[in-house]
Amino acid sequence: MNRRTRWARLALAVWLPVVVLVVWWFASATSNSPYFPPLTDILDELVDEWVFGDAKWQLLPSLRNLAVGFVGGSLLGVLGGALLWRVPVLRRATNPIVYFLYVLPAPALLPAMIALFGLGEVRQMALIAFGATWPALLNTLDGMRGIDEVKFDTARAMGFGALRTLWQVVLPGASPQIAAGLRASLQVSIILMVVSEMVAAEEGIGYFILEAQTVFAITTMWTGILVLAVVGTALNYAFVGIERRALAWHYGSRRIGGGPA
């Protein structure tokens, strides 16, 4: 790709977002609507609250709960998925229960988590972990079941031990689907992080936004929405970036194989 087409592509990719921001800026500049304050006001407030003010500390409990819940839940999910893959009897036996817990809309459990763990952050972490477990578990199971039997025969013929088979056959074979599962887990985790802060909580970004809405501090609420949007987007992009890097060999072989990259 030469330099000119590269610039043309970049221009194509950025012109619309720029136009949207400019339109928002000018269309809202004279806005009298209580719900849609001028963008300049929102940005001023954003700097006051989030750069100089204390609002940024609301992110700490949110991100801590997310990290503990997401990592704990997906670890459980990957290990559980691997276990169910190894033990077919267990897989058949638990199938309906696992499926039920997977399709159960996790926010519905929030009131139950309050009853179980009280109002503190434990119930928030527990809820996030619960939601993160099932997409990770089912995708790990699917990914491991999808590995070609020939690969195991080859590993056996080459005298691979159990550990070596795990590292060189099972994990590489299942990792694209495990990654897809973790991506789904992360999305559920972010939703659950915010929901758990919007019901009976006293800190966190979700609490900040809903509290601002309750006291009708609309501009402050908008700053929270923008920050949450940026944080959520950044987390998703960070995950995709790590995934691309960790699975570079996979995408590379798919390109060579002529499949969709």
């Binding site: 592509r9 194509l12 990719a13 950025v14 012109w15 619309l16 977002p17 949207v20 719900y35 009897v89 058949r92 036996a93 638990t94 199938n95 309906p96 229960i97 499926y99 039920f100 817990l101 399709v103 159960l104 809309p105 996790a106 926010p107 519905a108 459990l109 929030l110 009131p111 139950a112 309050i114 009853a115 179980l116 699917d142 999808g146 897809a180 999305q187 559920v188 972010i190 939703i191 915010v194 929901v195 919007m198 019901v199 979700g206 936004i209 809903l210 601002a212 809405q213 609309i218 609420m221 908008w222 929405i225 949450l228 949007a229 959520g232 987007t233 998703n236 992009y237 969709p260």
Partner: protein
């Protein structure tokens, strides 16, 4: 004999597990490992479920959740198919909008919930807007990928035969993209149900989520009812996900992507 065992086992084993789980639930609650104000007993919960199934309250709540889910999903699907087909067919339009769509897809829909509650109130409209907003972005990406993944031979043949405009959209573009759309719909349906429950829990719209919160706020005596409603929410998830899974499997059997070995569906990345 062998055949009978082969027929019974797939049903028997899950049933036994289900009974074991129910018995385990009863054991940990009756033995006092969990207090009634933490986790009600299985028998109390099933009794509450039986009682709730006979009330109009439960069915109104189920109806309200389903209504928001369905309207939101239909709006998102229609918009996504129309917008996705236009953007997928035109390279400049696709490249211009791709970054914007990716960003909106990455924004957690729940971020805008307080704003939507403020503008629309605790109404079905609020729920529908949140669901449609959350379901639209991933769905439109699926449609775009589906349209762009069209076999060039099919596309060239249609052009050579002079199939253009509306007819091309209905007879060539839609069928070719439909497996992607079906997968997108299955995923969107699950997130639509989650967003419906969120809109009811946080936004106070009528539905299962609100009933669960009410039951918790009503105190310990209503906890079995709370768990009964949670079980109902899970059953709703099973019915909806199962329906879309069947649609994907059975409705798409003619498409080449489904003719080979069982594929897990086509998800755009």
């Amino acid at each position: 004999m062998q055949a009978a065992i082969g027929f019974v086992r797939p049903v028997l084993v899950p049933c036994v597990t289900l009974l074991l789980v129910l018995a385990g639930w009863q054991a940990v609650t009756v033995s006092g490992l969990f207090r009634p104000d933490q986790f009600p007993t299985m028998t109390d919960t099933l009794t509450a479920l039986g009682a709730a199934l006979g009330t109009s309250e439960l069915w109104t709540a189920v109806g309200a959740t389903l209504q928001g889910w369905a309207i939101g999903l239909v709006i998102a699907a229609v918009l996504a198919v129309v917008v996705g087909c236009v953007l997928g067919a035109n390279d400049v339009a696709f490249r211009s909008t791709a970054s914007l769509i990716e960003v909106f897809k990455a924004i957690p829909a729940i971020a805008i919930l307080p704003l939507v509650i403020l503008v629309l109130g605790s109404t079905i409209g609020m729920k529908v807007f949140l669901i449609a907003f959350g379901a639209f972005w991933p769905l439109v990406i699926q449609v775009i990928y589906g349209v762009r993944a069209m076999d060039p031979t099919v596309s060239d043949t249609a052009r050579a035969l002079g199939v253009r405009g509306w007819r091309r959209f209905v007879t060539v573009t839609l069928p070719s993209a439909s497996p992607y759309i079906a997968t997108g719909l299955r995923i969107a349906s699950a997130s639509a149900l989650i967003l419906a429950v969120v809109a009811e829990l946080v936004g106070g719209a009528e539905g299962i989520g609100r009933r669960i919160l009410f039951a918790r706020n009503a105190g310990v005596t209503a906890y079995p009812t709370m768990y009964a409603y949670i079980l109902v929410a899970g059953c709703l998830g099973i019915v909806l996900t199962g329906a879309f899974f069947l649609l994907e499997r059975k409705g798409m059997h003619w498409h080449e992507s489904q003719r080979g070995v069982g594929t897990a569906g086509l998800e755009a990345r």
